[in-house]
Subunit: 263 residues, 5 copies
């Protein structure tokens, strides 16, 4: 972890990552609720909202669409990822080198998934090592998607597991840890404490109603969380800019979920 | 994906790849219907037809035969491939480096198979990463043979699977996605949408009669597909130039299957 | 092994490493006995005690916290490590390159775990080889956490096993061998003899009472051991500086456990 | 495949490779029929016969014996090979780098085994890729020992399998394909056709009587084969030069087996 | 194999390697018969005997002890080795690079174990390839510990197996082959013949009485063997210099076992 408050992906110490790698991770079925989202441009348009500090996409999407948005959107290149077509212990392919992401695609930040608890954890951690050290050479922040899963884990939402995931991000050298919301502000606080100086952001998860979602984000911020990395809970809504307005209030202005919805 | 409309393998925004790597993938049995096709020259001769924008072959065939055709044929070097002599989860050997393909063999484009859904998907995706980034250095288009298969898949012709395959090509950074035809123009349209700016072409598959074949291609084009990558459905015919004449009409001139056959 | 008596991590021929990689190896549960230890700063503060010759941490913790302590603490970068979330034969991910540890983080020494007896011993030994030879280029001491474990081992505290572990450190080229205390000064002496010129230090293990712990350390020193690498037995105490005062007496001044506690 | 008719291992478009890697592949038991053949010099002496265009040996034999024969024998360095002491899916260790073979040992040609159909085919093909491209840098011909075998194959002498093996050599970029004789000139012709411009030579196999052996070679040549790679059928005879005289007649002069024996 | 008669590890065409890597391969239990041998200095002292042409040790022992003996002892760095703590198919970790051994430690020769017949034979042979070619760059002799073992072998003392092991050393490019003594001079002669120009030395094995041991060495020399690589049969004796005096007579002066013992 290095100080990243001056980096483009941070606003007032907070982070809001709009993720759109679902086409790779889940397949095009994730675009069905709002069919036009199958066109990455529609999500990049959403990403121009001031609340969003970075868009997280895979290399191919960045190559094809980012050139039209580079003045309005910060690029977080997700370095690894895989489809859900295969079965087996969790693993993720490294789809982009750091040099290519930064030098050719103009990435402002990098993202890397670690499946702690998988039989492939060792291999993934070693791939992360190379990516992290390469990122340092370019002085670009590294966000870890820290998601314990695999045959060694019974419950990947267990508060201790989430706190462990946050700590892994600190110990291995990430600058931001993206973790599942562990169910309560108290549990989130454990994760935040475990991560030390690393910024912890919650992942948005599958789509829920506005209030429930914002209440979680409020709990995350109250617990010392630094923001959110979200996909479906934004772009699977009919009016994604509305929820971004509300998220902006909760994350950057300290509003409650109720206040944010009343605006 | 990068703009490739000005590349030699594109004609009026469309692509027609004549593939002849069957000697490696299927063995010499594929040449039995038209015995002289066992001689690669006969297929290269077919490849000089104006409808064909590139010939796809393995390295050894390019080394031995392409020097006689380099003025008349564009070379698409297939970078990986394997025999069907062995058994096991789908995989493909990387048989040619990008540098060798471009600098020594004069490749105008590159091809790479990804078996999404295979237990070897991770490894293949990482091999693709290197090939794709090397291709960018040479500014040469990359075509992905995106063929989900393996123990994780029940039905590799399922429309959602084909759309997923097309999306993988976009997310991972291909310029052209070669997918199986998913049975109807509506299904093909899903794949085309999922691939975004990436050009989707259908694979020719095993030999069918002229009308059925051209009708599929017509459906592909109507759905926004950008063409075809075909082998047996051309060179397993007694008169391959005739079917190429018809394909030319359907792909580049927007003719229907019936119109193309009536000419 | 090379002479390291003049290196910063040695004081009067002895070594006292304060280890804090438990957040990675065991998870945040290890911080529960003294909750503020979840903040690495509190442990770094402890590490400024004169008795401590080096702090052992993972790369991410070094990046985030060491800059504030570099005048007061010597850094021992632990190069490999993993979580206990997964199951399987003992193994450890290489999380930091030697170049990065020394050039970017300012490491004064390096640490590497070898699980002799694991089915992964071969792979770990080969990773150690590279790390050790890289360490030589930088003239930085290498400490081996030599911990036999795995399906091949019935009893990892067997005196012969501990002596074997110490010998592995010598044969493979470590400068300091960290081993489990084998239960008696006589057994420790075997390990010390087996390690030859390599300094053997005992690992602190899980928290015990002051007298029992200091008596072990006294036994270690009496047997020719050169010190201690300890974590929980220091920072899981309410007043870690008190036990460090006592350890200082036992390790550097030859005091008995009783004398050290009476001061 | 590149034109190799001007290379030292070709005489009048034909090739006769005298192989002696049996000490590695089969063990010293192969030398028992003619005990002095255990001394490589005796076989190198045979290799000075004009009919022989190259000797195929492993690196160590080349280092030790070739310096005495470099004026009289062309060296074909076999790059991979293994013992028959172990069990498992067919595989072969890469025992020599191309640079070492050419620059240090003076190799005029290179040889590489591919076990198509083995579960290790992918790995072997990728090792071949590197060797082949390195060979091109040195402009040295590459001979593939194309031997389908492994759990995927019921019958490695099946004519279709042999033709497939020959085609693999073409597709992957060999200059010469060494295959088992598929039982008849008609079958051999299929293999020759499948290999296209690549020269196909038959392997000598285990020792048979003069007439049967020469008849096979006659059939091979009649089918368009370009020669022979032979070991035991030459140096397991009491007078190996006699059979080489006969082979010279059959291969280079178009004699029948009967004519060759009558001379 | 290259000519090594002028190298420092050869005396009058013969070789006597004193090996002391037992602390790694077998553990400290091997030092119990003569407890002071746990200190490597005591064995290095033995190694100064004129009969010894090189000491074989692992990297760490060389780093720590060889600087005191470099004027009196020739260093043979054993490049691979492993503990007997784990179970599984025979394998050996590469613990030292050739560059480090030669440039940093001053090695006069190198040693490498190959377990022919192990499922890991392929991997070990490929590691040997790199080591051997690197050794050539430094013009340093390579000794192969050629020890067939693994699930493919019923009897690793079978004369044919030993002869095969000796041949592997020749084929793969070693300069000296260390093999088990195959039970009789006739059997040893087969191994010597199979190795061709490569010098074959017998391994000392576990401790036996003086006469039996010397008789074996006499048989080895009579069969054309070039010496011995010995550990326990020297330094597990109370007076190791006495047996070295006798070995000197048998190996370099052609004495019989009886003559050597009568001196």
């Amino acid at each position: 972890m290095r100080p990243i408050d001056d980096s483009p992906i941070v606003r007032d110490g907070k982070v809001l990552i709009l993720a759109m790698d679902h086409g790779l991770e889940h397949g095009p079925v994730d675009f069905e609720p709002v069919p036009e989202t199958i066109d990455p441009s529609t999500v990049f348009d959403v990403g121009t909202h001031d609340a969003v500090t970075a868009m997280a996409v895979q290399k191919g999407v960045a190559e094809a669409y980012y050139p039209s948005y580079e003045d309005d959107v910060n690029l977080l290149m997700k370095l690894n990822g895989t489809s859900n077509l295969w079965m087996g212990e969790p693993d993720s392919a490294v789809n982009c080198s750091v040099d290519y992401a930064v030098e050719e695609c103009g990435a402002d930040a990098l993202g890397f998934t670690l499946y702690g608890g998988s039989n492939n954890e060792i291999e993934m951690a070693e791939e992360f090592r190379k990516a992290q050290e390469d990122a340092r050479k370019h002085d670009v922040p590294m966000v870890m998607w820290s998601y314990p899963r695999g045959q060694g884990l019974k419950n990947d939402r267990d508060p201790e597991t989430i706190a462990y995931a946050a700590r892994q991000a600190l110990e291995l050298g990430a600058d931001v840890a993206k973790v599942k919301y562990p169910g309560s502000p108290e549990n989130m606080e454990w994760a935040v404490d475990a991560a030390g100086k690393v910024k912890v952001v919650m992942s948005g998860g599958s789509k829920t109603d506005d209030y429930a979602f914002l209440k979680q984000v409020e709990g995350c911020i109250a617990a010392g969380g630094k923001g959110l990395a979200v996909g479906r809970n934004v772009w699977q809504r009919e009016n994604p800019r509305e929820i971004l307005d509300a998220l902006e209030a909760v994350i950057y202005e300290g509003a409650s979920a109720e206040e944010a919805l009343d605006r």
